[in-house]
């Protein structure tokens, strides 16, 4: 049977998810994912062509309106690195960090 997920796909998906897969994680992860994806792939045999939603599964959302929320200090209080009320990140435009 053809594999659902190979090394290249795993590495691609991991890069999308911003996760590093170390060489010793790769083998066991591939095995687990192949079995889990193989199991959930049984859904392909379910005929959903006639499925017409009788009701949305989720409730309707309220309108998205701005309201008072956390203060700037509360919102940023958990950030690992802060300066003058801003979050400090690595240089994303290339070159050295400040």
């Amino acid at each position: 049977m053809a594999m659902i997920i190979d090394k290249e796909t795993l590495q691609h998906v991991a890069s999308l998810a911003r996760l590093e897969i170390t060489p010793d994680e790769e083998g066991p992860l591939l095995g687990d994912l192949e079995r889990i994806l193989g199991y959930v792939a049984q859904l392909s045999s379910v005929d959903t062509s006639a499925t017409v939603s009788k009701r949305p599964v989720m409730t309707e959302l309220r309108p998205d309106e701005p309201r008072d929320g956390l203060t700037r200090e509360e919102g940023l209080g958990g950030a690992p690195v802060m300066r003058s009320g801003f979050v400090v990140v690595r240089n994303v435009m290339g070159g050295e960090d400040e």
Binding site: V13, A17, L19, D32, Q42, R62, R67, A79, P80, V87
Partner: protein, 473 residues
């Protein structure tokens, strides 16, 4: 103090109102129990017993919860307290605000003795996936308490709290309730605010009460079911008194048994408990009918596509920039991936990868789209079944609590959720209640599901069966 300590929230409330007991005295007893037994059970990630004691001292004895200790799962925020989600990535994170449900409980007079252990980000069925330590089942310390709300359920079972709250995405309140011998209730999606719950699967997540009796769960729901504009999925509903809605019998009720689940392999004592519950229902005036849900067995594979997909999106926010762990890399991208690699455990990584895979170009239609169609099919079938039955009766779990370390295959672990997942997919309420023990003395849980917004009637039906099978009324 009276010689017999209250076992339930209801008995506690009565003792406080009759001035037979003070909140502080009871909390001191609770503290002794925690100090003696929690080093073995390990239900709590952090304790705040001194703060809880002064809050109990200040609690209004006429308030609904009157200083009662209610434990909180550590993925639900309480201002000023750590909220780790059982993960290294949030090990030192302190919540800047309280979840609406925590605020409601505190306003009603509850005190929080501590934050409870869980599978990392609520992903697991045994609490062994906590990044810190596993929790043990108070009924047998060599066994798991279930998960992911294993700490909250173990705390209630061990007497460390009169009630607790947990989150239920695929059974995380109900499955550990069954394993620990307590009551666990997942309300209708939209009934209890999730503001302040760290999101896992947003279309599935619900917060629910864990209690020693169905009546206690109803008492907690009276406080927890509040419309909240801060949660966009919270629904405004007419006020219901869950406790007053408890009826003494099942007269005129139709209890449905699901045909497609009957062939499943369940432990013989659980099958026997189902038989006892059927008899108790009939004796109480209910009729038993068989209903068909042709696609119910597709719920498990659909869930293990939808939940990882939503988790991979929700956990994208843990990037080492705005909160939590930060591990430096050569550049921003490497900083993200190093942080996430160091911060997330194996099961969380597995689910993020599955989610990213089923949402990625080329696989989206075959996996994610298909799973949402199947979900709709199952929700429609459940709605149709509820036309002919008022409640559906199933086991909560195929087995009683397994030994710590016994289930190492993730797919086998997922299969423990076969009975609990359909309610999450359809957004309907479901409750697990204790129904005796197996040959080894381990608790058995049975589940009732009902139509959306039938939460009060569902708890009433569960209360009748729970008390008929030996539970405290």
């Amino acid at each position: 103090m009276s010689s017999r300590l209250p076992r339930t929230l209801e008995q506690y409330r009565n003792a406080i109102r009759a001035h037979e007991l003070s909140a502080q005295e009871f909390l001191d007893e609770t503290r002794r129990l925690i100090e003696r037994d929690d080093p073995q059970v390990r239900a709590f990630l952090h304790l705040r017993l001194d703060a809880a004691r002064s809050e109990a001292q200040a609690a209004d004895p006429t308030s609904p919860l009157a200083g009662a200790a209610i434990a909180v799962k550590d993925n639900i925020m309480m201002a000023g307290e750590r909220c780790t989600c059982g993960s290294r990535i949030l090990e030192h994170y302190v919540a800047p605000y309280s979840a609406t449900v925590v605020r409601s409980l505190l306003t009603a007079g509850a005190v929080v003795p501590g934050k409870t252990n869980l599978d990392e980000f609520a992903m697991g069925s045994s609490t062994e996936n906590s990044a810190f330590f596993p929790t043990h089942n108070p009924a047998d310390l060599t066994r798991v308490p279930g998960g992911s709300s294993g700490g909250s359920n173990a705390a209630v079972a061990a007497g460390f709290a009169l009630g607790a709250i947990g989150s239920d995405t695929g059974g995380s309140v109900r499955q550990p309730a069954a394993f620990c011998g307590v009551v666990g209730f997942k309300p209708t999606y939209g009934l209890v605010s999730r503001y302040g719950l760290v999101a896992f699967g947003s279309s599935l997540d619900c917060i629910g009460p864990i209690a020693r009796s169905v009546r206690d769960a109803a008492i907690m729901m009276n406080v927890m079911a509040v419309h909240d504009p801060k949660d966009a999925t919270s629904v405004k509903r007419p006020h219901v008194d869950f406790e007053a809605a408890l009826q003494p019998s099942l007269a005129g009720k139709r209890v449905g048994i699901i045909r497609e689940l009957q062939g499943l392999d369940v432990q013989p004592e659980i099958a026997a408990a189902m038989e006892m519950a059927r008899e108790a229902a009939e004796k109480s005036g209910a009729s038993i009918i068989e209903v068909s849900l042709p696609h119910v067995l597709s719920a498990l594979p659909a869930y293990y596509i939808i939940a990882p997909a939503e988790c991979s999106a929700n956990l994208g926010r843990f990037d080492g920039v705005r909160y939590g762990l930060h591990v430096n890399g050569r550049d921003m991208t490497e900083t993200y991936s190093r942080t996430r690699n160091a911060g997330f455990g194996t099961e969380v990584k597995r689910r993020i990868l599955i989610g990213a895979f089923v949402l990625s170009v080329g696989y989206y239609d075959a996996y994610y789209k298909k799973a949402t169609d199947v979900r709709q099919l199952i929700a429609d079938e459940l709605d149709a079944a509820m036309q002919s039955a008022d409640v559906l009766l199933t086991p909560t779990t195929p087995t009683t609590a397994f030994r710590i370390g016994a289930v190492t295959d993730p797919l086998e672990m997922y299969k423990a959720d076969v009975f609990t997942i359909p309610a999450n997919l359809a957004g309907i309420p479901a409750v697990s209640f204790p129904a005796g023990t197996d040959a080894a003395g381990l608790p058995i849980g049975l589940q009732l599901m009902g139509p959306r917004w039938s939460d009060a009637e569902l708890l009433s039906s569960a209360n009748v069966l729970f008390t008929a099978l030996g539970g405290e009324s």
